[in-house]
């Protein structure tokens, strides 16, 4: 399967995503520069973590206007798979390819830790190799991961199953203490209405080998390859 990882000025985790895809998963993955306008024959486009454009103005607000984003919007409109991780998630929200916005963590602190997230919908291209209620462990590292969206839209998203991942405790239960950043309804990852665009704050590309502390990130990447192979 062919993957493209987009590099913006200030991207940090582009090489990590490339490593996870190429070296661990033996996929055909390449880097695209944000000024590229063609996605080639990529079957999934990854927007990696980092601080595109130094997080100036708002996280993701400037990257949204990079030339490649027009192509990505067109690709998504045709049903192409787009995965946004951390800053990639912020960019997708700013570009209106995903609903909502990511704001300053409630604690005002940058958080770097491994969290437990619960799979809320396993009938999507990004989660299909998991089961509903599965708990996976992934690292987070962000200062602006507090997910907000108008309450009415949130209710509709919940009804449609667009919330794919939620922060929970290690026992699978959710309360205020188990939501590290203050996200509404403990949201860690959401999809669009068509379920071909997915954004999440945790980093699956940093959980692909036991040496990194766990391999649960592979479940997301393998779900994607399984979806494309179908």
């Amino acid at each position: 399967m062919k993957w493209a990882v987009v590099r913006f000025p200030g991207s940090l985790d582009d090489d990590d995503a490339l490593y996870a895809l190429r070296d661990v998963l033996e996929q055909d993955a390449s880097i695209l520069w944000h000024k590229d306008e063609r996605l080639g024959d990529a079957e999934c486009v990854v927007l990696p973590g980092g601080f595109s454009y130094g997080d100036y103005l708002r996280c993701g607000a400037i990257a949204r206007f990079s030339p490649i984003m027009k192509s990505i919007a067109g690709f998504a409109a045709e049903g192409g798979l787009v995965l946004g991780i951390c800053n990639g998630f912020q960019i997708l929200c700013e570009a209106h390819l995903l609903p909502g916005a990511l704001t300053r963590n409630r604690s005002l602190s940058f958080i770097c830790e491994t969290v437990t997230v619960r799979v809320e919908n396993c009938q999507t291209p990004f989660t299909r190799l998991m089961r509903q209620g599965d708990l996976i462990r992934l690292p987070i590292k962000h200062g602006e991961g507090c997910y907000v969206t108008p309450e009415r839209e949130l209710r509709q998203m919940e009804e449609r199953g667009q919330v794919l991942l939620r922060y929970v405790g290690s026992d699978g239960k959710q309360n205020e203490r188990t939501t590290p950043n203050g996200s509404m309804r403990a949201i860690a990852g959401v999809a669009n209405e068509r379920f071909n665009v997915f954004g999440l704050m945790p980093h699956p590309e940093h959980a692909v080998e036991m040496m990194l502390g766990g391999t649960d990130g592979l479940k997301i990447f393998r779900s994607i390859t399984a979806s494309v192979a179908r």
Partner: protein
């Protein structure tokens, strides 16, 4: 035209920065301070045929880039010059 744009967290949206500053002011002894919000102040200049046309342009700038209308409120002042 000289433009000043004020962007603040939308009322009703959690503003942890505003809350932290409010608490700090209280700790300093400034009693009774409330509704503290921390936002952005942006200045810019451009040529426009009229103030009305400039305001329309600035409104578009705010909607498309300078603010995120889902989580932020904005207001602006346009002065000829």
């Amino acid at each position: 035209m000289q433009v000043k744009v004020f962007v603040t967290p939308r009322l009703g949206i959690l503003d942890p920065q505003g809350r932290a500053v409010e608490a700090a002011l209280a700790n300093l002894g400034f009693a009774g301070v409330r509704d503290v919000h921390v936002g952005r102040f942006i200045v810019l200049a451009f040529d426009a045929p009229s103030k009305v046309a400039a305001e329309e342009t600035v409104r578009k700038m705010c909607e498309q880039l300078l603010a995120n209308p889902m989580i932020e409120d904005y207001r602006f002042e346009v002065e000829p010059g």
